[in-house]
Symmetry: C2
Subunit: 115 residues, 2 copies
DNA sequence: CATGACTGCTAATAAATGCAAGCAGTATGC
DNA sequence: GCATACTGCTTGCATTTATTAGCAGTCATG
């Protein structure tokens, strides 16, 4: 009984693509990846190679490492500096810390590597 | 006219394997990758997937990112901090800087990510 | 000499990646 | 109504990855 469904990277890519208001075909054109394959990737049917992920990341302005992490190709890298500092800050309430952390996380998942 | 020869990752893997005094078969056993495939990878005949590179990196105690960079899957990440600091240090001679830099480079290419 | 345990490499096959062609559905203009 | 352009998805196929089985060579031990 095999349920391949590997939605992790796929759904993330779909989110980012829709966030950029791009169609599958448009993204296909930008990345050089065929549109049916992108469709299958987003639905978790196929497991894209690192090369494909890389071009997708570039087109969506996402860090390549982030996509690799989502695909299980790379261990999530700790950024203990900011996280630790927030956690240990005495002047912030728990909910403030949580909010700050969310914003921080959204930054590091979406920001592209500065060339 | 096809000259596949992609010796870059391959020769690096071979160096690291021999440095660890491991046979291809032994490495195959450690990584779960078949020994003929390892042979082909080291000679640049085949282009291993990220998953394979990852298990090789783990077995050879190399950082996964390093192997990805060698394979062209990831842009080499600059570590300007230490390099810059060494270069700008006024108390070091040129040859001392060079030696220090060599040691530093050997660390970042060989050190495994601390779990 | 022969047997066994190594070394690495070649050949054939299974499985997966990735693409070209084409299908259904919706929206806009004529 | 009909054409055109868009949306995403299914099918079939070429290419590549990765494995199992097996071959030639070297070295040590009986």
């Amino acid at each position: 009984m095999r349920t391949p469904q590997l939605p992790d990277v796929g759904s993330f890519i779909r989110e980012q693509r829709e966030r950029s208001a791009l169609s599958i075909r448009k993204l296909a054109e930008m990345t050089g990846v065929s549109n049916p394959y992108l469709s299958q990737i987003e639905r978790g049917i196929r497991r894209p190679s690192a090369k494909i992920l890389r071009s997708i990341a570039e087109a969506l302005a996402i860090r390549t490492e982030t996509l690799y992490e989502r695909a299980g190709l790379l261990d999530p890298v700790e950024a203990p500096g900011v996280r630790l500092a927030i956690a240990q800050d005495m002047t912030l309430t728990a909910s403030q810390k949580q909010a700050l952390m969310e914003i921080y996380k959204s930054f590091i998942t979406n920001d592209q590597e500065d060339s």
